[in-house]
Symmetry: C2
Subunit: 159 residues, 2 copies
């Protein structure tokens, strides 16, 4: 976590350790900056019965990348994200650690904040390329999140 | 595993224990018969940070249901399945154990076997409704598997 600004340390820690099964899988946040994140998941401990990364682990990397990107882009003290829909295309077997970099444009964040203010919810879509250790795209994910205001009294994220 | 015919016991055991992270999640096979399976995954140990089943666990239930259905429908000594594409729509938060029943028609299995014989591979699609403990549909999955002949010397499934 050496490319993470201090203001995003909580988000990174939460992405890695906030959900017990995700912590067991070992998702790691490599970098967070404004509207941009990079994450990885290790092959070790996550292979299937013939040595290839298990598909559920690939899913988890895409989902948690979306969660971390939410924290890097929107006000997580006021809003929270839910995963609305995901489409995953598995192109090649993953035989190494797996990586993803994903970002949102300033225009998208502005549109989401405008819709949150006017409609009380906002959907946004992230297209992700998941890459192996040599940079080949092994999987493609289309991930739709919905942001909503956090209900009063519900504490979803750490301070 | 009390609704499982003896001929499918290997498949059930493999679905539950064949992939380490799936065993940790605790997917269970409730029933297998010809071209039909029923599986569940417990909420306990699989909740996210605010008590709702983690999406990666929901994914895993759909994927492993597909794997078990392969074993209940096709010759797993000759062929093996890969997950080609999945689409998951998350409709309601899952606050209980989660269940899925899925089957293939005899016509689909015949078509897959014919294509395997003629083309050496065959895709097939499973539409799944995932239901909570009170029978409400919480999630919908469209899961595309590809069956292929097992390469000589590669042992994917137990005898």
């Amino acid at each position: 976590m050496n490319m993470i600004e201090k203001k995003y340390e909580n988000i990174a820690r939460f992405a890695e350790k906030g959900i017990p099964i995700v912590e067991k899988i070992g998702v790691r946040v490599l970098a967070i900056s404004e509207r941009s994140v990079e994450l990885m998941v290790p092959l070790e401990g996550n292979a299937n019965h013939y040595g290839v990364m298990y598909a559920g682990v690939i899913f988890t990397l895409a989902d948690i990348a979306g969660g971390a990107l939410f924290g890097a882009s929107l006000d997580y003290r006021q809003y929270f994200p839910t995963l609305k829909e995901i489409n995953l295309k598995f192109r090649r077997p993953v035989l190494s650690d797996l990586f993803v970099s994903v970002s949102l444009t300033g225009e998208t964040v502005q549109r989401v904040n405008d819709e949150l203010a006017s409609a009380g919810k906002a959907d946004y879509v992230m297209e992700m390329e998941l890459k192996n250790a040599t940079g080949e795209v092994t999987d493609r994910a289309t991930v739709t999140f919905q942001a909503r205001p956090t209900p009063p009294g519900l504490k979803i994220f750490p301070d």
